[in-house]
Symmetry: C2
Subunit: 403 residues, 2 copies
């Protein structure tokens, strides 16, 4: 039985140290599951991984009949540290308001698992991981992976934990893509599913923004064709630009206007220069600079590519409903009014497909000006929706308060 | 009397040559007006330019009472080659469907002037121009300029041409900002004004996108603190990334979906790599690569900064209506439904201010899915609107068909 890891180990430092991200890739401050050549991971590209490491965190206690497990899937720049102090940044987990005792995803009732995605850089095999066959970081030698590959890897972890059926799979953005893929690929292993601010395919505009980010990384001469770790360089400037561009898409125009407007940064009048005159510039630069301390540039390439490739209907001759044919999973689809990256229209397309497949589905569009990032924020209606949906499903599943 | 330049000189080559952009900065294939220390240009920053060169094109013939002149203001990446073959790219001018004999801005009736903006790189003084005091390109030694500085420079050109009152000032995007600034700064010199897809201030989100572009340029080690011309390097990769990010904002999600969707580029299945698998990637890369052959990276910094600083109401205690107090200029404000960079709401704010100033104003929102770039495209309703507005105003102004 896995132990809980609610408390960060005492050895973790709260501040970023040089190479922490690289250390985490091989030696994560997390639980780890290893899979060798006898359990290879077959990939959509046709390649196979004979060595797979999955880093994960758990919270709460698995009950006797193993019916109370919730898999939380993280987004592009998230990781498994969903509800504990982050070992690199020292900050609270990205969903620490959502997960805990008495919280919407209640650790008194559920056993929560969150694993770093395949291709990530926090301990699950990714481009920054050391390739055991060469002793060097994989870099671009790692095959390009897909959302389905991520989900296949997660299924191996769930098998290893001895769990047959997950009570729920939940996540936002790229996490929501994984939720939809789980429900489609393993319909009998998901009792209820919570895709939030997601889509069944990546749009042309979203691919475009990802491509800008990748070009920014690859334009940095310190990227060195991806071999920066072995050449002891770091494409931080390129990755920071990528993060800045992406960050704009996570917010709404209204939220930016409300938060920053045209306010100047600690000055009364413009400097007539190229320093960060406006608060929004200063904020974006900070977002870019802090990101590069905790994230691997090649991981950014791999994960954005996986999202670009995601098109759930494509495997079913373009009929999304066929991806959910005969499903008995209960769905709750959530979108946000001001999310222009994964807008309501994309979430409604999922709902329509689920309806066409005669699935049990509820849909909530939450009115907020906070944009795509709303799924990470203190949004009372999101909290109430998740609490209510899981509570109702747990009654149907026969999960008691104390496992 | 200035001569017309409808036809590109025979010496112009249709293909891009190395350093063509740099050649154009000092020796443009255009008409040129020079202003020396006896006619300095005073700038908003407090600096003055003792040497100013303005490169411009004209089309049609100025009539005897000089009442038929239209100043066309170009956008961020446009230039004075509005209706002739471009001397660097060999392509048709950016508004060649709009301007010409029998076209909405009719060269049989009007005398059209378009000058490269201050800070540009096609012959008007900008960071790529040679500073006569040093013999080197200005680079970042050029003071940061504003939209009002651009308009002040244009007014000097209009003075030089002996024109007291412009029949019209017209332009889209950054060109529209100049139109609004003209009408506010020189109300008696503008008979009618046509701001298209513009705004009276740059929004927080727009500043954010500009900042990403600037950071992409400045992150390129070949930028060399702006001194790339004298060091014989070229920050092309950074500028290409900046252009790619900006280009997404010029289009709409719907237009991207219609034009590219998730279609693959000359292949049946994804390559599972980081090449341009999707058509949208290939298109964006092309946009980035072709842009850097004709545009100066420092100009991109200066012009985006000028747009960021634009806030017409700020000079009037935040009351935009005061910027147009007592105006007798006739206005026609045009926006596009799918423009999310300069959305209808920003254009309506201009209309409301004009109404509050009791100005003559008509407003047209054109239904199109083509996004901000619609002002450059073959949009029949835009053409009809401009033709009608100018025609009506020309009757009021007493301009005959043949000047």
């Amino acid at each position: 039985m896995p132990t809980t890891s609610d408390t960060a180990p005492a050895s973790l430092t709260p501040a970023v140290r040089p190479n922490d991200a690289q250390n985490q890739a091989d030696h994560p401050a997390s639980l780890v599951a290893e899979f060798g050549p006898d359990e290879p991971l077959l990939l959509d590209s046709g390649h196979r991984l004979d060595h797979l490491q999955i880093a994960y965190q758990t919270y709460g206690t698995l009950n006797a009949d193993k019916s109370n497990a919730i898999l939380v899937c993280h987004a592009l720049t998230g990781d498994q540290h969903v509800a504990n102090r982050h070992p690199v940044t020292g900050k609270a987990g990205w969903w620490s308001d959502m997960i805990g005792s008495g919280k919407p995803i209640d650790t008194d009732r559920y056993f929560i698992i969150c694993s770093n995605v395949l291709g990530g850089c926090m301990g699950t095999t990714g481009p920054a991981s050391t390739n055991p066959e060469t002793g060097q970081a994989y870099a671009l030698d790692l095959p390009v992976i897909t959302i389905r590959d991520m989900v296949r890897a997660q299924a191996k972890l769930i098998d290893r934990l001895g769990i047959d059926t997950l009570f729920s799979v939940a996540g936002g953005s790229m996490g929501g893509m994984q939720v939809l893929q789980w429900a489609s690929t393993y319909p009998d292993r998901v009792f209820c599913a919570l895709p939030i601010a997601a889509a069944a395919r990546h749009s042309s505009q979203n691919i475009a923004f990802h491509e800008v980010g990748r070009q920014a990384v690859m334009a940095d001469p310190e990227w060195r064709g991806g071999r920066y770790l072995r050449e002891h360089t770091s494409p931080k400037k390129g990755l920071a630009v990528a993060r800045m561009a992406a960050h704009i898409t996570y917010l709404s125009d209204d939220a930016l206007h409300r938060k920053f407007g045209r306010k100047l940064q600690a000055r009364d009048r413009p400097t007539f220069g190229f320093d960060a005159d406006f608060q929004i510039e200063s904020y974006l630069r900070h977002q870019g600079m802090t990101f590069v301390d905790r994230f691997d540039a090649n991981s950014y390439l791999y994960l954005t590519r996986a999202m670009d490739y995601f098109d759930l209907a494509a495997d079913y001759d373009g009929r999304l409903a066929s991806a959910f044919k005969g499903t008995r999973t209960r769905f709750c689809v959530v979108s946000f009014t001001s999310d222009w990256l994964f807008p309501t229209v994309e979430n409604k397309a999922v709902v329509r497909a689920l309806n066409a497949a005669a699935a049990s589905v509820s849909f909530v569009e939450i009115d907020t000006d906070r944009g795509h990032d709303a799924f990470l924020l203190d949004e009372p209606e999101l909290f109430a929706t998740i609490r209510g949906f899981l509570s109702s499903a747990s009654h149907a599943r026969g999960i008691g308060l104390k496992p």
